[in-house]
């Protein structure tokens, strides 16, 4: 299982690649400044990465919906307004800057032990992606199946015991109905 963790870490390439940021004091970031597509592949063990069409999504969603307060847009969530009403644009809008890719590691957990910390419940990187995407897709009728966004890798097929690893009639595990 050690190798698995290593894998996770080593595949932690930058999810959002060469995004050039031009801080513009006093005004929010423009969607047009963002890249056309973003490859999200930092955690691609069981599933391959996602070629995320960022340009398309900027047409149907506001920046704040995914990037929260970091793009400097107007924050509407009453829970966020308490602190981020005027926090302005952040230095970076990359998901993994804030969302830990080693969620639930000892380090991650001990950081959250800080009693002064408000964001004790900030999802990890994988959680952040999925919670953001899937929740919105469910509401707007976007694709929600796992393989609608990313195809399963061989490692995935092995773990899910599907595809060429699917159980056959004869090898199917015994189920004690009684």
């Amino acid at each position: 299982m050690r190798t698995r963790k290593k894998l996770l870490r080593t595949t932690l390439a930058l999810a959002i690649g060469s995004v050039l940021l031009w801080p513009q004091p006093g005004s929010a970031m423009e969607a047009a400044d963002a890249p056309e597509t973003v490859e999200i592949n930092s955690l691609s063990r069981l599933y391959s990465g996602v070629d995320f069409n960022h340009a398309m999504h900027t047409e149907i969603a506001t920046c704040v919906q995914c990037h929260h307060h970091t793009t400097g847009g107007e924050v509407t969530d009453p829970n966020c307004i308490r602190c981020h009403a005027k926090s302005g644009e952040s230095d970076t809008v990359s998901c993994q800057e804030c969302h830990s890719s080693d969620r639930f590691s000892k380090e991650d957990l001990s950081k959250r032990d800080n009693p002064a910390l408000y964001h004790i419940d900030k999802p990890g990187l994988k959680g952040a992606y999925h919670l953001n995407c899937v929740t919105c897709h469910q509401k707007t009728g976007g694709p929600t199946g796992c393989q609608d966004c990313h195809t399963m890798t061989e490692a995935g097929e092995k773990m899910f015991q599907t595809g060429k690893y699917a159980p056959t009639e004869t090898t199917g595990g015994e189920h004690s109905g009684h």
Binding site: F104, G124, G127, V134, M159, F160, G173
Partner: protein, 309 residues
Amino acid sequence: MKTTVSRRTFIKGGLAGTVAATVLPEKKSQAATFEGYPDGMGVLVDLTRCVGCRSCEAACNEEQKLPQPEKPFDDFSVFDEMHHGQKRRTDETRYTIVNRYDVPGLDHPLFRKIQCNHCQEPACLTSCFVNAYTKTPEGAVIYNPKVCVGCRTCMIACPFYIPTFKYSSAFNPRIMKCIFCYDTRLKEGRPPACVEACPQEALTFGKRNKLIEIGRQRIRETPDKYEDHIYGEHEVGGTAWMYLSSVPFDQVGFDTHVPKEPILNYVKDFLGIVPMVLTIWPALFAGFHLLATRKDWLKNKNEDTHEEE
């Protein structure tokens, strides 16, 4: 940490003593209830996040080296399976299960993951007469197949119907249940395989105390989204695995009638009389004997004295 486990040790001591028919000195001064190990870990399951992808089931099967399933883990027809009018449950081939619930008035189904809840004061553990179960300081309830006799009282005692038995085996049966990935992960401070596999972070791993804080925060900040209850915070004296739901818990298959105190509390009435019976009965019945046979004794005595005369 020693003092926090006092009640269980107290009762153990008390009963061990009574079996040996000796009276132990009282140890009343210590805490009356066991509130769990302070640094025990847990998992908060958020039903509003679960999408029923069954990744946790697949990861568990791989991690625990369980037998191959009947259907692949990406086959969602399993949600329609029913046995005896019941949805799927844990068994000797699977430590965790996700079930789908179509809640009336809700436009989407809800999914609920079942596994061992790793109680703070586990009924399986307290009912086991060979000490096969252990609640580790890390929070897991683990099982030792080497001493298990196969009486299955733990299965009777578990309010969540979690322990399962390998009925199919005659020579090597054992209890099969989720052990929080204790041997391979939790011991080293790592989250269990299911938590790591969950894409939605529907499973949040952390110190139990912290998880209650997190759960409270979610309820407080999005009150429209959640029932104002963390299932497992107080159920059967508290569990390491806890649940948040958007609908009343009984609508998604939870037993909301389980007691809010440890199962052991129900057994204590009986355990309490054991030392009493052991100490009072002998004197009481010896006394009865002397009273009941007094006439005979007097008669014998008189006869003896008459004979002497």
